[in-house]
Amino acid sequence: MKTRVKLGVAVAASLMLAGGQAMSKEYKVGVLLPFSGVYAGLGAHIENGFKLGLEHYGADLGSDTITMVRSDTEAKPAASLAKTKKMVLQDKVDVLVGVVSSAVLGGMRDFVHNSGTPLVVANAGNDHMTGEKCSPNIVRVSFSNSQINRPVGGWLAKQGVKTAYLMAPDYAAGHQMMEAFKKTFTEAGGTIVGEAYPPLQGTKDYGPYITAAKAAKPDAIYTFFAGGAAITFVKQYHDFGVKKDIPLYGAGFLTSAAYVHVQGEAADGTVAALHYVPAIDTPENKKFQDAYQAAHQKVGSEFAVAGYDAAHLIVQAIKKSGGDKDAFKAALSKAEFNGPRGPLRIDPATNNVVQNIYLFKNEFKDGKVVQTILDTIPDVQDAPNGCSM
């Protein structure tokens, strides 16, 4: 009773008529995403993007077909590990894709590393997974926490920001993002005048933190928040009227395309950095957004793009390898193509993606938030950080 999406069936059928039956192969992709629990929303975005990617690129495989087996990770490490094992050992999938939470990725890591089945990570940004805990079996097509924030420190210092106050939720990703920013910002001569790490869960009342940050009188506030916390934070920051004195900067999840319309006027003036902005003006992005918006009546977010590019990556690697397991893995590590986010490639030294980071500004015009790209930092690549394949 698995949900199976068969794609390229028509193509396969027509080729079969042409006598290519013996040549066609079926590839199984195991999709591991949270479909329930707090990350269910992200799971849905990535899955939608992944399906769209298979639609757009699946035909490239000719007579070969890709079958999806999906499993709900519930964002719980133990449950996810059991389901990963099932996919690899029982369903015998050729490749795994997905994983939103870094804790879930941490739980799967050793098993995936020791199994022969590669995993394409479509969200979880934990630096270590393409650093000291990297694995030839784990390829990340989304981002790493430090990759997004590292370029911002120098950029911000160049804009004349001398002092900054940091704020992020109190968990690994929050700390990694802030650390990466802090390093480049202080190297460029900036000073951190204060930091606050509110709890990840709980009442989500940032009033007290915002009041404290304001009292520290920095030139700018640099933050990372995502999802409901990002909406609440941006709204409250706006309501406290701090923005005119202290501009708000952050990792781009702060004003993600997934929910910036909910923030509305509150997002106005916020500048953020991310590997994808819907405003990117390329034919690849237009094709993606047109199709995505037609199918789902909403803007494709960076999460959807990660799913979409994961599909592209897998199709490309299958095509290159012709079905050979090792060649497939090698092809994943060396993939290179233009996606909605622009040029991207996988760095064989870490298996992390190399991509542009966009600095973009949110402006509230005529009842809508408009995002415009201020600057593009090309080919941002993570150092190996203890990774040896």
């Binding site: 009442t203 009033g207 007290p208 319309h261």
Partner: protein, 290 residues
């Protein structure tokens, strides 16, 4: 910063705002607890429903005022359905089974919310009253937060009058003290339970719809608010308005000033406070039943 009186004044307002939100949530729960001896873990889900109904109504009408009025009524209707189908039948089942049934209800209501409203965050960006801010002691403070504080105080005053100066209030207090005797005096205790459950549900819904413009609405937002609400109820003492009010202020203040003074241990502080209060007063600060 530590000597800046404006800073501390704003933090006091912040703590009041959080306290009032907690009060709106916990007061219904505590009276249901006290009157019916009923442990309703699904109370947080009603909060989420209030926010989500409020979102839909605001979308349809283009403003919040109708949402403030109608969303609590919608939640009250859900409360009525829950009462008739489940709560009423579980009243005498003992706390353990009640915990279990309402724990199951959390799952059910969560998935219904996800099905109806999806998994994305929702929020309104226009038609919000008091969306500006005002200046006080040289600090800028959002007017909407003051609005939340006022709603909390008004509800407290209204409930105080209702409980202390009306016949329904006397019947509720009598029902908390001794439901058997109250029924022998002609009080339809079961109907009183029902009315109190509806009011409690509506207040949870009100909390949700009032919080929605300042925060956002999403399926599942009720689960994370449940624990602080339970803490307020237990610290305040079961069944009393005074307890809910005092407990809310205590927890709201602890969380807010905890966040300012020792940010990473604010929620830990809340739990420590609960343990301390229970060890000194094993039935909370102001229990309705001695």
């Amino acid at each position: 910063m530590l000597t800046d009186s404006g800073f501390w004044f704003v933090q006091v307002l912040n703590s009041l705002q959080l306290s009032m939100l907690l009060f709106l949530l916990s007061v219904g729960l505590t009276v249901i607890f006290g009157l019916m001896n009923f442990v309703n873990l699904a109370h947080g889900s009603l909060y989420a429903l209030g926010a989500l109904f409020g979102y839909s109504i605001a979308q349809a009408t283009g403003g919040m005022w109708l949402a403030y009025l109608l969303a609590p009524l919608c939640v009250m209707l859900v409360g009525a359905i829950l009462y008739i189908l489940i709560i009423d039948r579980m009243r005498k089942a003992g706390p353990m089974k009640q915990v279990l049934v309402t724990f199951g209800l959390i799952f059910v209501l969560l998935d219904i919310q996800r099905y109806l409203w999806g998994t994305d965050q929702l929020g309104v960006t226009s038609g919000i009253p008091f969306s500006g801010s005002f200046e006080i002691f040289g600090e800028i403070y959002p007017s909407y937060r003051l609005f939340i504080i006022c709603v909390g105080l008004v509800v407290f005053a209204a409930l105080f009058l209702l409980l202390e100066h009306t016949r329904l209030g006397a019947e509720v207090r009598a029902g908390v003290d001794d439901p058997e005797t109250a029924s022998c005096l002609g009080v339809n205790v079961e109907r009183t339970f029902f009315v109190v459950f509806l009011i409690g549900s509506a207040l949870a819904g009100l909390a949700g719809v009032v919080a929605m413009p300042a925060f956002s609405a999403e399926a599942g937002m009720g689960v994370s608010i449940l624990v602080p609400t339970l803490v307020v109820v237990v610290v305040g003492g079961l069944g009393s308005l005074k307890g809910a009010f005092a407990g809310s202020l205590l927890i709201g203040t602890t969380l807010t000033f905890g966040q300012v003074i020792i940010p990473s241990f604010a929620s830990m502080l809340m739990y420590a406070l609960l343990v301390a209060v229970l060890l000194i007063r094993p039935s909370g600060l102001f229990p309705a039943r001695g």
